[in-house]
Amino acid sequence: MTTQTDCAPEPYPGTSTDLPALRRQLTVLQGGKVTSVHVPSESEGRFALLLALTYRRPNGRNGLAYRWLTVGSPAWRLDLTGPGEPVVAAASGDAVPRLAADLRVLVGRQITDVRITEPGWDTLIEFGDHRLTVFPTTYHTPDSGPDWVLRLPSRRQLGIGPGARWEARG
């Protein structure tokens, strides 16, 4: 005999946990170039990068789109990587004036790799010898916002997070 019970309500309706599908969507970031950095004065660690993204148009030709990547997670870090130990170049806990100055090191850099790790869905975006890591820290709390958001060249909006989920809008 099988007993059925109601499932716990999904705290994030409409979101997906299909990580391979998300990875396919994020391939558009490959080679993207940072053209500017925006850090709001009331940032609390949040910031946005304006990216120049090359993409394939429906007619097969390449197009260029300028799109924002916005980091909303309160936990992220920019590390200078290289042959030695990684060094923290900027982090979400830093004060805003310093944060803005430190993040400008990304301007002019290209994205060389994007990874999302399991089970926590840390996002690692490589800019050559700099790595931006977004650490999700919200998984089971309703009404939480995404950890980061990317506007695609198609103008659809990807929201990654909170936690191990994503959604596309628009």
Partner: protein
């Protein structure tokens, strides 16, 4: 305080206190993150589990405390401050020695007679 290496830190283990951003994970899922509302319920998973390993990333001091398969991962979120302000990333009281291990912009060991509260110093 004297500087200790990550290898030395791993040798001496005891309860810890004070983490600014962290996540509790099993091998295949996340039990809780530091911004979640029901933290106590998640942390109850750690009750009675031994701390079996500590992995410290040199440079950033990102640390994973392994409680017999449940991993408590911590995320340092401050760049070392040139003005000398320090932010405790975590504190670890060592077993019966009276010493406390402090991770801020570096890894140090000292006496726990008046340990600093986690956070800005």
């Amino acid at each position: 305080m004297s500087t200790v290496t990550p290898a030395q830190a791993r040798q001496r283990i005891a309860p810890l206190l004070g983490l600014p951003a962290w996540r509790l994970e099993s091998a295949d899922r996340v039990l809780a993150g530091s911004e979640d509302a029901a933290l106590q319920q998640a942390l109850d998973h750690l009750e009675g589990r031994p701390l079996t390993d500590v992995l410290i990333t040199p440079g950033t001091l990102a640390t994973t405390f392994d409680f017999g398969g449940l991993r408590l991962r911590t995320f340092p979120l401050h760049r070392p401050d040139p003005d000398g302000h320090e932010y405790d990333h975590w504190l670890l009281w060592l077993d019966g020695s009276g010493d406390v291990l402090v991770a801020d912009s570096r890894l140090r060991i000292g006496r726990d007679d008046a340990p600093d509260a986690p956070g800005e110093r």
